[in-house]
């Protein structure tokens, strides 16, 4: 039987990644060159520094992806690439390299939305069954996405201010944790108790939207106030209280969405999907929905990587959704809103 191999590219933020994916479900290689150590010097991602690192890495990652997969260009069916959302200068390296490879070897080019990629990281656990609902939580995004059928992604709710991952990084800084802070806050949270009862913003609101800036401010104010009166707060309890507030809001909105939109699967994806507190909580909540299976993106594919782009790209490949040599990066690319929810919002 013929196998379809996709060479996939991802460079939207601080990881340069190239992968070879077979039939959208088997990873033959997934090279990830991460710049985290570089940006940790600055306390966060510096876009121009990121772009400079991407161009240093890109062709070495291509070569390694092919050699590790033990394939040549002749074996490939298509080239897929993240064209947004993300940092424009960073995206441009992947887009330019992918277009060039597609042209050089006369392969079809598949533009992939980075967020669709995150969702399809879950495809490496099991096939996606439609309709499905995805909770996407990352450093740049927090959204609930409805998947009616393959290739259709519609937003039903999203954050109105900070992304959940962004809030983790900001409160992490207050706790003296370097970016990316999620993993360490998650670890501390498991050692502490929710004693501070931070606000759960918009939790009673009818929309499926999120808000995390109020929680972040409440956290920072609490710590600063304690500093002023010379009191030291328990870091573990602070982390636990913050994480509980985030998880409560994410879980409550997701449960409400599952009630409003009967689906076969709930997909948890994005960088913050690696958070153990969130994974555990949603697993518990899902017991109320015996007909819904819970598909969690594998922890090692929660961060940015090209394998997830290859999986999402394979869906476009089957639907004949191709781009051309004029493809440009679209830093503010988003899914469309599901019409009914936008009317309600």
């Amino acid at each position: 039987m013929e196998r379809n191999l996709i060479l996939a590219f991802e460079s939207s933020c601080d990881e340069t990644s190239v992968a070879v994916v077979e039939d959208g479900k088997t990873i033959l290689s997934n090279i990830v060159a991460t710049q985290i150590k570089s940006h940790q010097r600055f306390g966060g991602v510096v876009p121009e520094v990121a772009s400079r690192h991407h161009i240093e890495q890109i062709t070495a990652c291509i070569d390694l992806a092919l050699s590790e997969a033990q394939v040549t260009y002749d074996d490939l069916s298509a080239v897929a690439v993240t064209y947004g959302p993300g940092l424009v200068g960073a995206l441009l390296i992947g887009v330019t390299a992918a277009k060039t490879v597609a042209y050089a070897h006369q392969l079809p080019l598949i533009p992939v939305n980075h967020m669709a990629g995150h969702i399809y990281a879950a495809r490496y656990v099991a096939p996606i069954e439609f309709p499905a609902l995805a909770l996407l939580v990352s450093g740049g995004h927090t959204e609930l996405v409805y998947l009616a059928e393959p290739g259709q992604f519609e937003i039903i709710g999203e954050t109105r201010d900070d992304a959940a991952g962004e809030a983790y990084d900001k409160i992490g800084r207050v706790l003296g944790i370097n970016y990316p802070a999620g993993k360490e806050v998650d670890r501390l949270a498991h050692l502490g108790k929710d004693n501070f009862h931070f606000p759960r913003a918009m939790d009673k609101d009818d929309s499926f939207d999120f808000s995390f800036s109020g929680l972040k401010s409440a956290f920072i104010n609490t710590v600063h106030h304690a500093d002023q009166i010379g009191e030291t707060l328990n870091r573990e309890d602070l982390a636990a209280s913050f994480q509980q507030a985030v998880v409560d809001v994410l879980a409550d909105k997701t449960v409400r969405a599952l009630k409003a939109f009967p689906v076969k699967q709930l997909i948890l994806a994005g960088g913050v999907a690696a958070n153990q507190g969130l994974r555990d909580r949603l697993t518990t909540e899902l017991t109320q929905f015996p007909d819904v299976t819970f598909l969690k993106a594998p922890i090692k594919l929660c961060g940015d990587n090209a394998a997830m782009i290859g999986a999402a790209g394979y869906v476009s490949y089957q639907l004949n959704q191709f781009g051309d040599a004029g493809l440009n990066a679209d830093p503010s690319l988003e899914f469309d809103w599901l019409e009914t929810t936008q009317a309600n919002a």
Binding site: A33, T34, S51, T59, I62, K99, Y103, A104, N328
Partner: protein, 240 residues
Amino acid sequence: MKVLALDTSNRPLSVAVLSDDQVLATTTVTITQKHAAHLLPIIESLMKVAGLKPADLDRVVVADGPGSYTGLRIGVTTAKTLADTLKLQLVGVSSLATIAANVMTDNQLVAVFFDGRNDHVFAGVYRIKDQQPVTVIEDQHADFGDFLKRIADLNESVVVLGELSAFSERLKNVLADRYLQYPAAFNLPSAVQLARLGNSVAPVADINAFVPRYLRLTKAEADWQKQHPEEDSSNYVEKV
């Protein structure tokens, strides 16, 4: 030898396809700001007109800096990816020298400027020898006034090319009758001249390590190095 030459280092975008010294097809566009969207379609159409497939190429020549950081990365990423994926020779040539190569008069001094904002420039000074620009003052990022003084100190007639709009008054005042003005078209890079200069440059040994010559650190990196003078900043990216 089949050569593809491309320059996207600033607002003008120039591409040429050559067979040895014969120009098969060339295009220069000055009005696009979307190099990422336009570069590859232009390469495709020129290659098609020239009757070449990508695999027919032997060499890619790219203007590798200085210039707009994003512009440089579009050209250099295209060139290094093409060279890597098709096993072609890759040659980098100064974006400033490419413009200096528009001048053919033997022994003529040529200064080329790109506007680096905040009264700074990316600039270099060349002397034309046997139709090749030979470096007199190294390509660099410099304060315009300081760089102009160094040119004036050469005490010689000089052709000044590049992005001059912010500097023309001071050039006239300081260099006076030693300032030789050429028609505006000479300020544009030509991928044909770029390919010609590329003929005498050895291909890069390590295509993967090839990056633009920005000639300037990012502000974050410069500040960090100032605070950590003893630390090596070369190994910050790791494969996981």
